[in-house]
Symmetry: C2
Subunit: 96 residues, 2 copies
Protein backbone atom coordinates (compact mmCIF):
# COMPACT_ATOMS: atom_id res chain seq x y z
CA UNK A 1 0.00 0.00 0.00
CA UNK A 2 1.23 3.44 -0.93
CA UNK A 3 0.83 6.12 1.72
CA UNK A 4 1.36 9.88 1.70
CA UNK A 5 1.93 11.61 5.05
CA UNK A 6 1.63 15.40 5.28
CA UNK A 7 2.11 17.25 8.55
CA UNK A 8 1.77 20.75 9.95
CA UNK A 9 3.41 20.98 13.38
CA UNK A 10 3.35 24.12 15.51
CA UNK A 11 6.99 24.89 16.15
CA UNK A 12 6.85 28.20 18.05
CA UNK A 13 7.65 26.29 21.25
CA UNK A 14 10.56 24.00 22.22
CA UNK A 15 8.05 21.21 22.74
CA UNK A 16 6.70 21.75 19.21
CA UNK A 17 10.20 21.65 17.70
CA UNK A 18 10.81 18.36 19.57
CA UNK A 19 7.53 16.93 18.23
CA UNK A 20 8.55 17.94 14.70
CA UNK A 21 11.84 16.03 14.99
CA UNK A 22 10.14 12.95 16.42
CA UNK A 23 7.38 12.99 13.77
CA UNK A 24 9.93 13.36 10.98
CA UNK A 25 11.89 10.44 12.47
CA UNK A 26 8.80 8.21 12.56
CA UNK A 27 8.20 9.06 8.89
CA UNK A 28 11.86 8.44 7.96
CA UNK A 29 11.54 5.00 9.59
CA UNK A 30 8.59 4.18 7.33
CA UNK A 31 9.33 5.91 4.03
CA UNK A 32 10.91 8.64 1.97
CA UNK A 33 10.84 12.41 2.45
CA UNK A 34 9.65 14.15 -0.74
CA UNK A 35 9.03 17.65 0.60
CA UNK A 36 9.82 19.44 3.87
CA UNK A 37 6.76 18.00 5.57
CA UNK A 38 5.56 15.36 3.15
CA UNK A 39 6.63 11.71 3.10
CA UNK A 40 5.76 8.82 0.80
CA UNK A 41 5.77 5.29 2.20
CA UNK A 42 5.28 1.78 0.82
CA UNK A 43 3.84 -0.21 3.74
CA UNK A 44 1.66 -3.21 4.49
CA UNK A 45 -1.38 -3.07 6.82
CA UNK A 46 0.68 -3.88 9.93
CA UNK A 47 3.30 -1.24 9.16
CA UNK A 48 0.53 1.24 8.39
CA UNK A 49 -1.09 0.64 11.80
CA UNK A 50 2.33 1.02 13.43
CA UNK A 51 2.97 4.31 11.56
CA UNK A 52 -0.42 5.76 12.61
CA UNK A 53 0.02 4.64 16.23
CA UNK A 54 3.51 6.16 16.52
CA UNK A 55 2.36 9.46 14.99
CA UNK A 56 -0.70 9.56 17.26
CA UNK A 57 1.58 9.06 20.29
CA UNK A 58 3.64 12.16 19.43
CA UNK A 59 1.16 14.68 18.01
CA UNK A 60 -0.38 17.51 20.07
CA UNK A 61 -4.02 17.16 18.90
CA UNK A 62 -4.96 20.80 19.42
CA UNK A 63 -1.85 22.30 17.82
CA UNK A 64 -0.69 19.92 15.11
CA UNK A 65 -2.24 18.36 12.01
CA UNK A 66 -1.15 15.12 10.32
CA UNK A 67 -3.03 13.83 7.27
CA UNK A 68 -2.27 10.32 6.08
CA UNK A 69 -3.57 9.32 2.66
CA UNK A 70 -3.78 5.67 1.64
CA UNK A 71 -3.54 5.13 -2.12
CA UNK A 72 -4.38 1.50 -2.93
CA UNK A 73 -4.24 1.65 -6.71
CA UNK A 74 -0.91 3.52 -7.02
CA UNK A 75 0.14 3.80 -10.64
CA UNK A 76 2.12 6.18 -12.84
CA UNK A 77 -1.07 8.26 -13.12
CA UNK A 78 -1.38 8.70 -9.34
CA UNK A 79 1.38 11.24 -8.93
CA UNK A 80 2.08 14.38 -10.95
CA UNK A 81 5.31 15.94 -9.75
CA UNK A 82 6.18 19.48 -10.80
CA UNK A 83 9.59 21.11 -10.11
CA UNK A 84 12.33 19.81 -7.85
CA UNK A 85 12.23 16.10 -7.21
CA UNK A 86 13.77 14.39 -4.20
CA UNK A 87 11.62 11.21 -4.27
CA UNK A 88 13.18 7.76 -4.98
CA UNK A 89 11.43 5.23 -7.24
CA UNK A 90 10.61 2.36 -4.82
CA UNK A 91 10.86 -0.20 -7.65
CA UNK A 92 14.48 0.78 -8.30
CA UNK A 93 17.01 -1.38 -6.36
CA UNK A 94 18.18 0.58 -3.27
CA UNK A 95 22.00 0.78 -3.24
CA UNK A 96 22.94 0.43 0.47
Amino acid sequence: MYVVVAYDIRTDTKAGQKRLRRIAQVCVNHGQRVQKSVFECQVDELQFADLVRQLRDVIHPAEDSIRIYRVHDFSKRTLVSLGREIGIDFEEPMIL
Copy 2:
Protein backbone atom coordinates in the same frame (compact mmCIF):
# COMPACT_ATOMS: atom_id res chain seq x y z
CA MET B 1 -11.77 12.45 -8.71
CA TYR B 2 -10.20 13.32 -5.38
CA VAL B 3 -6.86 15.14 -5.55
CA VAL B 4 -4.31 16.12 -2.90
CA VAL B 5 -1.91 18.97 -3.73
CA ALA B 6 1.20 19.47 -1.57
CA TYR B 7 3.69 22.22 -2.31
CA ASP B 8 7.09 23.41 -1.10
CA ILE B 9 7.85 26.87 -2.49
CA ARG B 10 11.15 28.67 -1.86
CA THR B 11 10.14 31.94 -0.27
CA ASP B 12 13.49 33.57 0.56
CA THR B 13 12.96 35.91 -2.40
CA LYS B 14 10.16 38.36 -3.28
CA ALA B 15 9.55 36.38 -6.46
CA GLY B 16 9.17 33.19 -4.38
CA GLN B 17 6.68 34.85 -2.03
CA LYS B 18 4.68 35.99 -5.08
CA ARG B 19 4.72 32.46 -6.50
CA LEU B 20 3.50 31.11 -3.15
CA ARG B 21 0.51 33.46 -3.18
CA ARG B 22 -0.35 32.63 -6.80
CA ILE B 23 -0.01 28.86 -6.22
CA ALA B 24 -2.21 29.06 -3.12
CA GLN B 25 -4.79 31.03 -5.12
CA VAL B 26 -4.84 28.41 -7.90
CA CYS B 27 -5.43 25.74 -5.24
CA VAL B 28 -8.15 27.79 -3.50
CA ASN B 29 -9.90 28.07 -6.89
CA HIS B 30 -9.95 24.26 -7.17
CA GLY B 31 -10.39 22.99 -3.63
CA GLN B 32 -10.01 23.28 0.10
CA ARG B 33 -6.94 24.13 2.19
CA VAL B 34 -6.37 21.47 4.87
CA GLN B 35 -2.86 22.39 5.97
CA LYS B 36 -0.55 25.36 5.35
CA SER B 37 0.65 23.92 2.06
CA VAL B 38 -1.74 21.06 1.41
CA PHE B 39 -5.05 21.26 -0.44
CA GLU B 40 -7.72 18.69 -1.18
CA CYS B 41 -9.81 19.04 -4.33
CA GLN B 42 -12.77 17.22 -5.89
CA VAL B 43 -12.31 17.71 -9.65
CA ASP B 44 -13.16 16.06 -12.96
CA GLU B 45 -10.54 15.28 -15.63
CA LEU B 46 -10.89 18.72 -17.30
CA GLN B 47 -10.56 20.61 -14.02
CA PHE B 48 -7.59 18.41 -13.10
CA ALA B 49 -5.81 19.28 -16.36
CA ASP B 50 -6.59 22.96 -15.73
CA LEU B 51 -5.21 22.76 -12.17
CA VAL B 52 -1.96 21.12 -13.33
CA ARG B 53 -1.52 23.58 -16.21
CA GLN B 54 -2.03 26.63 -13.96
CA LEU B 55 0.41 25.30 -11.34
CA ARG B 56 2.98 24.46 -14.00
CA ASP B 57 2.71 28.03 -15.34
CA VAL B 58 3.63 29.52 -11.94
CA ILE B 59 6.20 27.14 -10.45
CA HIS B 60 9.97 27.74 -10.60
CA PRO B 61 11.08 24.21 -11.58
CA ALA B 62 14.53 24.39 -9.98
CA GLU B 63 13.39 25.96 -6.70
CA ASP B 64 9.87 24.72 -5.99
CA SER B 65 8.20 21.32 -5.61
CA ILE B 66 4.51 20.56 -6.16
CA ARG B 67 3.22 16.99 -5.80
CA ILE B 68 -0.30 16.25 -6.98
CA TYR B 69 -1.81 12.93 -5.93
CA ARG B 70 -4.87 11.54 -7.69
CA VAL B 71 -6.97 9.24 -5.50
CA HIS B 72 -9.62 7.54 -7.64
CA ASP B 73 -11.15 5.26 -5.05
CA PHE B 74 -11.55 7.83 -2.26
CA SER B 75 -13.37 6.36 0.70
CA LYS B 76 -13.52 6.80 4.47
CA ARG B 77 -10.43 4.54 4.65
CA THR B 78 -8.40 6.80 2.35
CA LEU B 79 -7.72 9.54 4.85
CA VAL B 80 -6.55 9.27 8.47
CA SER B 81 -6.54 12.71 10.02
CA LEU B 82 -4.74 13.25 13.33
CA GLY B 83 -4.96 16.49 15.34
CA ARG B 84 -6.54 19.76 14.32
CA GLU B 85 -8.89 19.57 11.37
CA ILE B 86 -9.73 22.36 8.95
CA GLY B 87 -11.06 20.21 6.05
CA ILE B 88 -14.73 20.35 4.88
CA ASP B 89 -16.66 17.17 4.01
CA PHE B 90 -17.36 17.63 0.26
CA GLU B 91 -20.57 15.57 0.53
CA GLU B 92 -22.00 18.04 3.07
CA PRO B 93 -24.12 20.78 1.40
CA MET B 94 -21.98 23.94 1.09
CA ILE B 95 -23.80 26.89 2.71
CA LEU B 96 -23.07 29.89 0.42
